[in-house]
């Protein structure tokens, strides 16, 4: 599957991704694709490997095997090496043998245009909401530390501040701009994380359980909000989510993961009807 014809619209493509920690195979041979302008959801029971998949995409983890492409460009390629070659527990371990491993650090990947939020909110806790977003603009700077120290970048600094304020307004947090980020209520913290991610000028937004801990009303608002920013910033959205209503409402397609393996893929309607999913995932969840 690795060298299939490139899909013009493909923003993110994972091929044969396996992530193994010691003897534990967290993801086994996962392949998926997210196309331009789509909202794609990744669902599955707890411990299915969803966040691990995000971490493989954003460079936090180096996948054990497989490749990740972003706009057709490989951003992670690996095959089992060294000690891992012996204890490799996934499949397709030899597909990428001849490929040169590609590794990027998370900041490089963010530079390319993938921004993310975190499942367990990771805001900068000593900073205000405004400063949190402002930090997100840092990576597109043109100033170096000298020009910044000597304030030769005033125009850029002003633009950064305007952009941050603007984003806060869009996510509806301009009134709490000077509040300490961690003092905000949960729902606002989640929105702040999204605003911060948007500040990095992404083309692909990864949302890790954006609705976790929200009440139904907030969840509904969030759905609208995600669609809204997707359109406004011309984004592609890939999200992990447990709230099925939200997932079914806004997703174009859904991937289902269980025990590290992809068990289904399709539109919300298809997934809802899929017996495998119902058995493995919904069934379990309902119990």
């Amino acid at each position: 599957m690795s060298e299939m014809k490139a899909n013009e619209n493909s923003v993110l493509r994972l091929t044969d991704i396996t992530m193994q920690f010691g003897g534990v195979v967290a993801i086994n041979n996962l392949s998926l694709e997210v196309n331009q302008g789509e909202i794609v959801a990744l669902i599955g029971p707890n411990g299915a490997g969803k966040t691990t998949a995000f971490n493989c995409i954003t460079g936090v983890y180096e996948p054990t095997n497989g490749a990740v492409y972003f706009h057709g460009k490989p951003i992670a390629v690996n095959h089992p090496q060294g000690r891992m070659a012996k204890q490799y527990g996934g499949i397709n371990g030899d597909l990428y043998k001849d490929r040169k491993p590609v590794v990027y650090t998370p900041d490089k990947i963010t530079h390319m245009g993938i921004a993310r939020t975190f499942q367990n909110i990771r805001l900068f806790k000593s900073q205000t909401a405004f400063e949190n977003v402002l930090i997100g603009t840092h990576l597109r700077r043109t100033s170096n530390f000298l020009t910044a120290t000597f304030r030769l970048n005033l125009r850029e600094e002003k633009a950064m501040r305007e952009k941050a304020m603007n984003l806060l307004e869009i996510v509806g947090l301009s009134d709490v701009a000077n509040e300490l980020a961690t003092s905000l209520p949960y729902g606002k913290q989640r929105r702040l994380e999204i605003a911060r991610a948007l500040a990095t000028d992404p083309t692909l937004l990864l949302l890790d359980e954006p609705a976790a801990g929200m009440n139904p009303q907030e969840t509904d608002d969030l759905g609208e909000f995600i669609v809204d920013i997707k359109n406004r910033f011309n984004l592609t959205v890939f999200m992990i989510e447990h709230h099925m209503n939200l997932v079914m409402d806004i997703s174009d397609r859904i991937y289902v993961l269980d025990f590290g393996k992809q068990i289904a893929e399709g539109t919300p309607e298809e997934i809802q009807k899929n017996p495998v999913v119902i058995a493995a995932y919904l069934g379990v969840d309902e119990e």
Partner: protein, 292 residues
């Protein structure tokens, strides 16, 4: 060639054994609290002073157990006063507290002893000189490695076979979960400090028998080296700490033999940095993957 190196080797093995006894305290505490107990070297020094003041009025046979008891009390108190209140604080705070305690102990000892070097008492049996091949040395040089191995063996048994040992292993694997499992964390930590301090007290008996001047800052360097030994051996591993300490003791003396005295201390740190960069888990440490 061998004859010139022999005294250095002997000195290395003996000082290495003494470092090992200090290193046990570091490795245990780090294993459980993830804390570099900077005050450990000063507790070692304090044990030296206890001995000096006790033997001034008491026979050696009574002084030695008293020294160990007093050192244990000191180590225990330090933990309760300076580390326990910071259990939930960021790790940096605890480390700063450790540095503060070290500063306090050094200044306190300076004040109480008048800042002058004190002469360590002569321990019958240990202080005699003997000849080994072409080298002359003290009995303690021979006793140290044997005693060290015995104590380390006993400690490993304790940790592997007893209930408290099991608790210690559990706490070092996962602090929070073991707390949930009903392990009394504070007791385990106290036991850790007690064992570490007792080992340091024994180490000080051996160390100062060889090098008889005790000053308030004398423990700082051996303390740091022992920590390096613990890292080198793989932090958390007791046999590792011992082997690391022996290697460091021998290397540093061989460097002196090569005429690079000025770098004998620097070597230890260079070794530390090399180990941290290329094998952060040390010789015998277990590999840990970070969770994000």
């Amino acid at each position: 060639m061998f004859n010139t190196l022999l005294p250095y080797l002997l000195a290395g093995i003996s000082v290495g054994g003494q470092y090992a006894l200090i290193a046990v305290g570091y490795t245990l505490v780090y294993g459980i609290l993830r804390l570099i107990n900077f005050a450990h070297g000063d507790i070692f020094t304090a044990a030296g002073f206890f001995m000096i003041y006790l033997t001034a009025s008491l026979p050696i046979g009574i002084s030695i157990p008293l020294v160990i008891i007093l050192t244990v009390i000191l180590g225990f108190t330090v933990e309760r006063v300076a580390y326990k209140p910071l259990r939930s604080a960021p790790r940096m705070s605890i480390m700063i507290s450790a540095i503060g305690v070290s500063y306090l102990l050094q200044n306190l000892m300076w004040y109480l002893t008048g800042g002058l070097a004190k002469q360590y008492p002569v321990l019958p049996g240990l202080s005699q000189t003997i000849r080994i091949g072409s080298a002359t040395t003290k009995v303690v040089t021979i006793v140290t490695p044997i005693l060290t191995i015995l104590l380390v063996f006993a400690l490993v048994t304790l940790i592997n076979k007893t209930k408290i040992g099991m608790a210690m292993r559990a706490v070092s694997k996962d602090f929070e979960t073991s707390q949930l499992m009903g392990i009394k964390i504070n007791n385990v930590i106290s036991v850790t400090f007690i064992i570490g301090s007792a080992m340091a007290a024994v180490g000080s008996l051996l160390y100062f028998t060889n090098y008889t001047a005790v000053t308030p800052t004398v423990g700082a360097m051996p303390g740091l080296k022992a920590f390096v030994a613990a890292v080198f051996g793989g932090i958390g591993s007791i046999p590792g700490a011992m082997i690391g300490a022996l290697i460091i003791g021998i290397c540093e003396n061989l460097i002196k033999a090569a005429g690079w005295t000025a770098f004998s201390d620097a070597f230890t740190f260079a070794l530390l940095i090399v180990v941290l960069l290329f094998r952060p888990t040390g010789l015998f440490g277990e590999k840990v993957t970070d969770k994000v």
